[in-house]
Structure formats: C-alpha cells, structure tokens
C-alpha cells in the first residue's frame, strides 16, 4: 500500500491588488504602512521606467545597441535591490536595472554597456557585484559560489541572483538550487517570471504548476508572489535575505509578472503575442498600482507625480548626455581590449597589442 512519504505546497502572496487596494483577510506586513519608504521606492520605479523609455528611444535613433527593456518588472527589480545590503552580492541577468540603481549603479553606466563600451561594466555599484550576464542562468551559480565564499569566511553576507522563467529550464539554475541546498548557502534565487522566454510562453516551457516548486524539489523553501506588487515582493525578499543572512540557508522566490515590452529592441513581440494578453497585463502593471495605493493613503498626489516625472526626465536626459559625451569624446583606445585580459600582459598579447596600435583603423564595416 502506498504511503505518503513527502507532501508539498507552494504558497502565493499578494498584498496589493491591481486596483491599488490592499487584499482583505490577510496579515498585511508592516511595510505596507511605511509610506515614506514606499514613496521612495515608488520614485525609483518611476525613474526606472523613465530610464527604460529613454534607452529604447536611444536605440531607435541609433545611439545605443540592442537593449533589453525592463518595462513591467519595476516592482520586482526595485524590491530585490531594496532588500539587499551594500555588502551583499548581486548577480543579475541583463534587465534588472531597478535593482542595480538601488545598489548605486549609474544610469549612464547601463547605457555604456548597451552602447557597446566595456567601461559600463566597471560600474559604481558595489565593486564585488557581478555585471550583466547574457548567457542564461549561469549567474545563479556565480551567486552560489559567492555565497559559498561568504559562508566559508563566516561573513554575514547574502548572494542574490535573478533568473527568468525561461532560465529556470536551465541546468545551471537547478544546479544552483542543489548547491544552495547541499551547503545551506546564504543564497536567494529569484525567478522573475514574466511569462515569456523571448517568443516561448510559460505554457511551453514546463507543465509544472509553479516554477517555485523546482526549489522545493531541491529542498529549499520556495514561494510565489505577485511580482507586480511591490509590497509582496519586498516582504518576500526581506524575509528570504534576512533568513539567509542568519544561517537558515537558501530560498527560491518566484515573482509573477509580465514583460510589457519586447524581449529586446531586436525583437518584435507582436509576431507571437496576442494583443489582448498585453492589454490585460497593462491593467495589472506595478507602477500604476503602487501609485493608486499611495494616493489612496494620502501619501502621494498628482502634483508630486508631475514633479517626479519632470525630475526623472531631467535625470535620465543627464545620464544620456553623460553617456554620449563619454563614448564619443573619450572613446577607449584599441589597446584597452588587450590591457585587461590578464593581470600582467603576456608576451604573445604584447606583440598583438603593438600590432593593433600600428593598425588602429576600423575594419568590418557593413
């Protein structure tokens, strides 16, 4: 006769509904009443959205290379950054700008990276943070390695990594769960589930009821939250980060959100995605939701909103100007590609470096 030897459940948390009202019959976390903090995070979400719009515009006008938009992910990303301390380590994928702005990365540096200039990777955030990771899910293992280093050195630091719903199919993600579990690492893995891995919908990636349960399979506490609800995202992140810091091991959080934009500026989501699905997602998006809540609470108003939008536009324009000034007026020389390959330039590269200096003109035009 069969016996149940293990049983699991995945809890879903939402505190702020799409209409900006708090859900009823639930233990609402105290941070929902911390209006000053929520206003600060709201400002960051609006700044991130303004930045994103500008970056797409710069790409469309030929001033930026391919760019990965973060439209619709603002609550998830800002919550991730806001829950972390300076000494913690962030291993992002390539669209978590909101989190990175929290950590001190400059907007002009993000633009430099997508503008094809490696100096953007040498950003102003914590020097130990990893930079953007284009190969999918490999960053989860770098975070696991960072967490292992912190654990071995007995430092109270946490490593946080983000993966998409598509990336959760990769072995690296599952191996990071395994490492977190086997070694009880101070590691938080966040699946920002935006429903689309470029053109492949969530339904074609996996038939599991949740992606969070992949963490449960590896032995990690795993939950799902509404990724457009800043309060839920921040509550879950703080809980996980604090627990990881105090030696309770690793956690998986699946944040349910939606990619309102194309995958990147090289993609056209209209080719594969029904417009009514996108329209529906706009009704649930995170910025409008938090704004409605803050206004309802008397913590925000349209006058301050107008000021904020004006301020954000100014800051973003300033960042764009800084970026253009830097890459156009102070371009990196041909030798830079050699100079950082090794701590000390090997003799064979020294030879190639010297050759490159003699022929610095561009090739490969199309």
């Amino acid at each position: 006769m069969a016996q149940t030897v293990a049983a699991f459940k995945v809890d879903y948390f939402q505190f702020l509904k799409p209409d900006g009202k708090l859900v009823e019959d639930q233990q609402i976390p105290a941070l929902a009443r911390d209006h000053d903090r929520l206003v600060e995070l709201y400002k960051l979400m609006v700044l991130t959205r303004t930045f994103d719009k500008k970056a797409v515009a710069l790409q469309r006008t030929g001033k930026l290379g391919t760019y990965a938009s973060c439209l619709g992910h603002e609550a998830a990303h800002v919550a991730i950054g806001a829950a972390m301390r300076e000494e913690d380590c962030f291993a992002p994928m390539y669209r978590e700008y909101g989190a990175q702005f929290c950590r001190g990365v400059k907007m002009s540096e993000v633009l430099m990276y997508w503008g094809g200039d490696e100096r953007g990777n040498n950003f102003s955030g914590p020097a130990h943070d990893f930079s953007w990771c284009v190969p999918i899910a490999t960053q989860c293992l770098h975070a696991a390695g960072a967490a292992l280093a912190y654990k071995l050195r007995k430092e109270e630091r946490v490593a946080v990594s983000v993966v998409g719903d598509g990336g959760s199919s990769k072995g690296d993600f599952l191996e990071a769960i395994n490492a977190g579990s086997a070694w009880k690492l101070p590691l938080v893995l966040v699946i920002v589930n935006n429903q689309w891995a470029i053109s492949v919908p969530r339904s074609k990636q996996n038939t599991a009821a949740t992606l969070a349960q992949k963490g449960i399979a590896g032995g990690l506490p795993s939950i799902q939250v509404d990724g457009n609800d800043l309060i839920a995202c921040l509550w879950a992140m703080e809980k996980a980060v604090n627990a990881a810091r105090s030696g309770k091991g690793s956690f998986v959080i699946e944040m349910m959100t939606y990619r309102l934009s194309d995958h990147t500026t090289a993609d056209d989501a209209r080719r594969y995605r029904p417009s009514d699905e996108v329209d529906d997602a706009w009704d649930k998006e995170p910025v409008k939701r938090l704004k409605a809540y803050l206004i309802d609470q008397g913590a925000w108003d349209e006058e301050r909103e107008a000021e904020l939008l004006e301020e954000c536009s100014r800051w973003v324009q300033q960042a764009a100007d800084e970026y253009v000034e830097q890459v156009e007026n102070h371009p990196e020389g041909v030798t830079a590609m050699f100079d950082y390959m090794f701590a000390e330039l090997p003799h064979d590269l020294a030879e190639q470096r010297e050759y490159a200096q003699r022929f610095p003109e561009d090739g490969g035009h199309h």
Binding site: E118, R119, A127, F130, T138, A144, G145, L148, M341, P346
Partner: protein
C-alpha cells in the same frame, strides 16, 4: 628531500599553497575523504578539514560555476574534475565567464581559479576519460593552460598556477602520474609559467612536446642519439600563452623541427606551433616542420588506444624524414 611522483608533486603543492594562504580551497567530486580518484588530494581533508577540502555534489557545471563565483569574491579555489572528458560541460563557465571576467569588468573583478584534471589516454580507462583537450582551452582568450611533465614541474607549476591572479587550466598527464620519481624539495618555490623548458640540448633537430608525450619523445631522442643525431627536446609546459621565442630560438640553431602531441592534429597546439615557425622561423628551416599527433578520430576504447597514440617509432620516423631534406 623526498623522491616523489608527478601526482605527489601535485598533492605537495596543494598542501603547501593551502598552508600559506587560507583563501585556497580545494573542491570537487570525491576530493575529500576519498582523496580524489587518483589520490591527488590524499590527506588534505584530514589536514585542512571540511571547509578547505570540499566534496561537491556530482555536478560539473556547478563545480565550474561556483568556482568562478568564489574566485570573483576573493577566494582561490582549486577545482578538480575527475577526468578530462567530464570538463566539457564546464567549458561554458570557463570560456564565457572565467576567461572574460577581468576584461569585461575592466579589472573590477578577476577570477584567480585553477581547474585541474587528469588528461590523456593510456591507462585503459572507459570512454570519455582519455581525451587531450588542451587546444580547446588554449583557444579561449583569458585562460592559461599548463601541463606539467615531471614531479618537480608538477610541484612548481601548480604552485605558480594557484598563486596566479588569473584562471589556469592545469592538465595533469595521468599516464605518467606515477611513471618516474624525482627528488623534490617542498620549499614553496614556484616555477615560471609562460615559458618552455629545454630538457635536452642538441644541434640537428628540435623535438617539441608536452605532458605524457615527453616519455616517448625522450625515448626517441635516446634512439636518435644512438644513431648519431643530436636532438634538442623542448617541453612546452605552458600551452597558452605560448612561448614561441624559445622554440624559434632552438629551431634557428637546429634548422629542423618535429612536434609531438597526443591530441588530434587538426587545429591543434602542434598546428599553432608549426604556424608560428612558418611565420617567424622559415628562413632558418632546412626542412618542413612535421607533426606527430593522435589521429583526428574519436579516442578509441582501450584495446586500440595505444595504436592511436604517437609511438617512439613514429617520432623517430618523422625525425628521419626531416633529416633527409638537405
């Protein structure tokens, strides 16, 4: 002073490096209590404990990825892969991250890791245990590839690899793990990376090789010397970056060169050395450069593997061919 084997040279260097720098940790499958499948980490777990000698879950990608992560956060991890064929899943992290980290962050992050593994054939191992993938790793920018060929070089080069501020692939020629014993002083002295070692001086022909093929190459040199041919033998030791200067300087004197490698010939390290000689040393060559290599085939299972490997006879034959050209 102890007489030790090549693999004991590796162990001695690991212990010395762990003793002098507590950020050095060893990790891999079975490296702890068991001391590694070849015993390269024997005794380290007992001496340094769980936090320094870490048995990992059986997951090569995880070993590579976490090693990159640890190295980027200021540790000096020395990861073991059990066999060369099992490093193939690790290549993503080595190429896409370890080799790029310093450059892509303009020096903000670096990756001072060592990935060490037994490579090459000749021990009657199962499939996927006997490949010689040095050209794969040498093709990756930002990676050092080191192959020792004696107990003292295993000790000195491993110490240098661990202390190096950049990622090093350390390929151990397992066929000669216990072939010879040598007196090695455990004095913490490293040997220089990025240089070739001239093992034998000669005037008529230069033999260039590395790793386990040192064995057949030295035997061929002995045979040729008996025939009155003066042979210079160069052990490349660091495959990438390649010290072409030492090889060219030798060939400028001898005028003839045969390169011996166990790996397949196509797009290989032997090809790169031959191209380097064509580029810089052609006016000093009296004969075409010859390569004696493994064949461009899948490494055979053990009943045929020795037919794949370059033999003393093949090396002597190639030398005779280059000597025939006047």
């Amino acid at each position: 002073m102890a007489e030790i084997t090549l693999i004991e040279g590796v162990t001695m260097a690991l212990a010395r490096a762990m003793e002098e720098d507590e950020s050095v940790v060893v990790l891999g499958e079975d490296v702890g209590v068991n001391g590694g499948v070849f015993r390269a980490t024997a005794g380290l777990h007992q001496r340094f404990g769980d936090d320094r000698v870490i048995d990992t879950p059986l997951a090569e990608v995880m070993i590579a990825g976490t090693t990159v992560g640890m190295a980027a956060q200021g540790m000096k991890p020395v990861a073991e892969a059990q066999f060369c064929g099992f490093t193939m899943p690790m290549i993503d992290h080595i190429m896409c991250h370890a080799g790029r980290l310093r450059n892509r962050t303009r020096g903000r992050l670096s990756c001072p890791m060592v990935l060490r593994f037994p490579s090459g054939g000749g021990i009657h191992a199962p499939e996927h245990h006997s490949e010689s993938p040095e050209a794969l790793y040498a093709h990756m920018p930002g990676i050092r590839v080191v192959i020792p060929s004696s107990p003292s070089r295993a000790y000195g080069l491993m110490l240098a690899a661990i202390r190096d501020p950049d990622p090093v692939i350390f390929m151990e020629p397992k066929r000669i793990y216990r072939w010879q014993k040598e007196e090695v002083v455990d004095d913490g002295e490293e040997l220089p990376l990025d240089v070739c070692y001239t093992l034998r001086d000669g005037n008529d022909v230069t033999l260039v090789t590395w790793g386990a093929m040192i064995k057949e190459t030295m035997q061929a040199a002995d045979e040729l010397e008996a025939q009155g041919v003066s042979v210079e033998v160069i052990d490349v030791a660091t495959i990438s970056p390649l010290d072409m200067e030492t090889i060219i300087e030798s060939v400028e004197r001898t005028g003839r060169c045969v390169i011996v490698q166990e790996a397949p010939r196509h797009c290989s390290v032997a090809s790169e050395i031959a191209a380097g000689l064509a580029d810089a040393g052609v006016w000093h060559l009296h004969a075409p450069v010859k390569r004696v290599c493994g064949y461009d085939v899948v490494m055979p299972l053990y009943r045929n593997e020795m037919k794949y490997m370059p033999s003393v006879k093949r090396i002597v034959h190639a030398v005779q061919q280059v000597l025939e050209v006047s």
